[in-house]
Point group: C2
Chain length 178, copies 2
Amino acid sequence: MCERCYPGNNAVKHIPYDQYLDKVNYRLSHSGVFLTSHKDKDNTMVMGWGGITWYWRRPIFIVPVRTTRYTWHAINETGVFTVSVPLNDELREAMAFCGSKSGRDYDKFKECNLTALPGKFVRVPVIGECNLHYECKVVFKQTMEPSLLDGGIRERHYKEHDFHTMFYGEIAACYLTE
Amino acid sequence: MCERCYPGNNAVKHIPYDQYLDKVNYRLSHSGVFLTSHKDKDNTMVMGWGGITWYWRRPIFIVPVRTTRYTWHAINETGVFTVSVPLNDELREAMAFCGSKSGRDYDKFKECNLTALPGKFVRVPVIGECNLHYECKVVFKQTMEPSLLDGGIRERHYKEHDFHTMFYGEIAACYLTE
């Protein structure tokens, strides 16, 4: 077991946060990644926007979450989240479900037979069926000011006025599971 | 000459925006990249934070610029900028100068013998001595709300209360020059 891991957790292989930038960007922009949080229960959603950046001399995963989302309340209150990246298309069905249903109405882990592996640095699980994981602590957040956004984008992506909060999560851990 | 280039410009090799994610992130976080703008004159600064992300189904280069910077006024008013990435350490001296002096006081292109190659999609030059370039159009911008930032980061990086505006620039072109 990795000495940096909490006792009782599965062993993982810690890697540099930037080892899989290409894969993360590809998955984000093509099929999505899992954004997981925990408030009253574990919950996950599919995220297709955002990315890994470098701010304040530390790696930051920027994740945009609409203020109407169940996930939003969890991250906004707890200040922690994880991102789990599938490296192939096997989880297509789970992604379709998790990307279209709300955690208000479903236990998505149960519905999709997803395994919640305990996080090692934050009290949020990662998705056992994925291989690549990021554990993050929010160090900055800001909800979009609509008037500062390009009009075409506003019309196309925010018809319901459900703007995003950009959560800037410092990457506390990045690792692979089997 | 590339058919997508304005007549009279040097030929370039257009590449996918995500071909050099690793290199951009490495240069950003280790030595910096050139952030170039044009208002009354061409000007460039060195940027060490930010990154390439994916938002609104398009590639977005997020560049943070302090509101006190000469560059800030140019980007804020014109809505366009370029990022030029050196792929080695040859430009160390120019980076030291451009990263510490203000465009208010110097013509940095002249002082550092930098070549301003005309942009192909935006009216801002790229730095001829670099190899990798991004031309960007701002589609969203927002100045940081200090109260939403981690206290430690605020203390360490914003002693002068000179907070950043995050400029979200859609990548209109990405290419290599020789």
